[in-house]
Symmetry: C2
Subunit: 303 residues, 2 copies
């Protein structure tokens, strides 16, 4: 059985950054997440793709040990996103074609309902809620979200968030969701909703982890050249959850040290992702590369 | 003799942030710098103020052990800056009245030319150059600058920078000065100009230190509530230089560990500064507070 069930989107992306442009490259939150998490654990993905989805892309995931048997192929085109990155700043979406993703309704196969760790990518919170209900009490539920759902489906999102153990969210989003502009106040508000662990991603500025009244602060792992930031947040989540799932194989409860190390691995994996377009770098990352950068990162931050 | 000679501006600031508004409060780069640095070392300030400058403000500096004998009082008004901080973002200057600062021409008194550490606040690079020329070969020269001088006096600034050991600069500025948009490339370019040590401040995102092909990354020290970011960069420089000067009392050369600890102290001091308006918090910081937050910061970043 897989360690982690990941539910999210698989997409083809057209991306333009300061370093160039790529058309129709494999992307989507579940894709980055799974490839990143597969460095540590056995991942099963539940997602939908169109009939244009390339066999070579399925092969790539399988080569990473990802269980792709719950990637449903539907008539129509795969979800397509296109965006452009200004020199400094967040992606600007040029176009979103949901295509087959528009009617995505995740049904968990019987044999996957006992997977111990559940990762909910940033899909409609009503679908996230439905997935949680279908599972047999996972050990740990990790959830991502985005501005769009905070704006459009706040009540549903809060209902889902109340059931998750770990909320992965970015700084803008947690301020929006909590209605608080100070990070600590925002975190306290979200803790009250349910999640015991909150990870606030802050792009190039790193991330903050909050658990049990403890706070871990981590700068982004430095890289020589950022080529394409797409997928950094999902890769972070993948590295984090992958490491956590591996640690929870032998242990029942989470602890702060485990969460901190999981965050650092998320950080390391994301630092590789952004060094090339799409998954070009991430898919070639191996354990030696992880450990080497983990050790460099320790040097970077120790004093 | 003082450990550090600091040359810069003393001002009265009118500041509005999300937390309120304060009019005509003591500020200026040399002020924040000196109060911060005085926590570690004996500081002498060279600056100019107008005849409106309050005796109580001189008293405050003297109570911190700062040598104020080179603060020149001139006929006219003290430098005045007013600005407003948007919820997320950098200060927007509403008004700058240079007043007596407009004709500031720092003359180093004979007895201060042997001070071993020189800090050049972000004044006109021609004045910074003149100060360096007047000194008797300081052990270490630390220099700050700002966008305005990079735009208006690039050649003069490069001439000054070529003589300094440590350049303290923010991320936007180093990109502008180097013409490189990647941090590492920018740093390499500036190293070639002269400075062996480069500190890139990045506001709420922390700072990066570069020395001898080594790189230290530090997130900003978390605080519960930011009240007023004014003076954070100057306080950082003050904590950094103050600790460095103290360390160089017994040792001739700088080393990476010393620089890293100095940066962390800069970070800690700045984190206190932003917790209240102007110098309201910083001026009440003592050694116990420093050490307590230093130890917390170690916990925040260790994994």
């Amino acid at each position: 059985m897989s360690d982690v069930l990941a539910v999210g989107s698989i997409a083809y992306d057209t991306v333009e950054t300061w370093a160039g442009k790529r058309s129709e490259v494999l992307g989507g939150s579940a894709t980055y997440f799974s490839v990143a998490a597969s460095l540590f654990s056995k991942i099963s993905v539940l997602a939908v793709v169109g009939d244009d989805f390339a066999t070579s892309d399925i092969d790539m995931l399988q080569n990473k040990g990802v269980d792709t048997s719950s990637i449903i192929k539907k008539e129509g085109k795969t979800f397509h996103w296109s965006g452009v990155y200004p020199k400094n700043g967040d992606a600007q979406t040029l176009q979103t074609d949901l295509n087959v993703f528009e009617t995505f309704n995740p049904i968990i196969p019987e044999e996957k309902r006992d997977i111990p760790i559940l990762f909910l990518g940033n899909i409609d919170p009503d679908l996230q809620y439905s997935v949680i209900q279908q599972m047999n009490r996972p050990k740990c539920i990790i959830c991502d979200t985005m501005n769009f759902w905070i704006d459009k489906k706040r009540e549903s999102l809060i209902k889902t968030v109340s059931l998750v153990d770990v909320l992965v969210i970015n700084l803008t989003e947690i301020k929006l969701l909590s209605g608080k502009k100070d990070l600590i106040e925002a975190v306290n508000k979200i803790h009250q909703l349910g999640p015991k662990v909150i990870i606030v991603k802050n792009g190039a500025r790193g991330a903050n982890l909050f658990y049990d009244n403890k706070h871990f602060v981590m700068p982004a792992c430095p890289v020589d050249k950022v080529i394409d930031p797409t997928g950094a947040g999902d890769s972070f989540a993948g590295g984090f959850v992958g490491f956590l799932a591996k640690s929870l194989r032998d242990k029942d409860g989470i602890d702060f040290k485990m969460l901190k190390r999981a965050s650092v691995y998320g950080n390391i994996v994301a630092s590789y992702t952004i060094e090339d377009f799409g998954l070009d770098k991430l898919k070639n990352v191996d354990h030696n590369m992880l450990e080497s950068r983990f050790s460099n990162f320790q040097d970077f931050v120790s004093f």
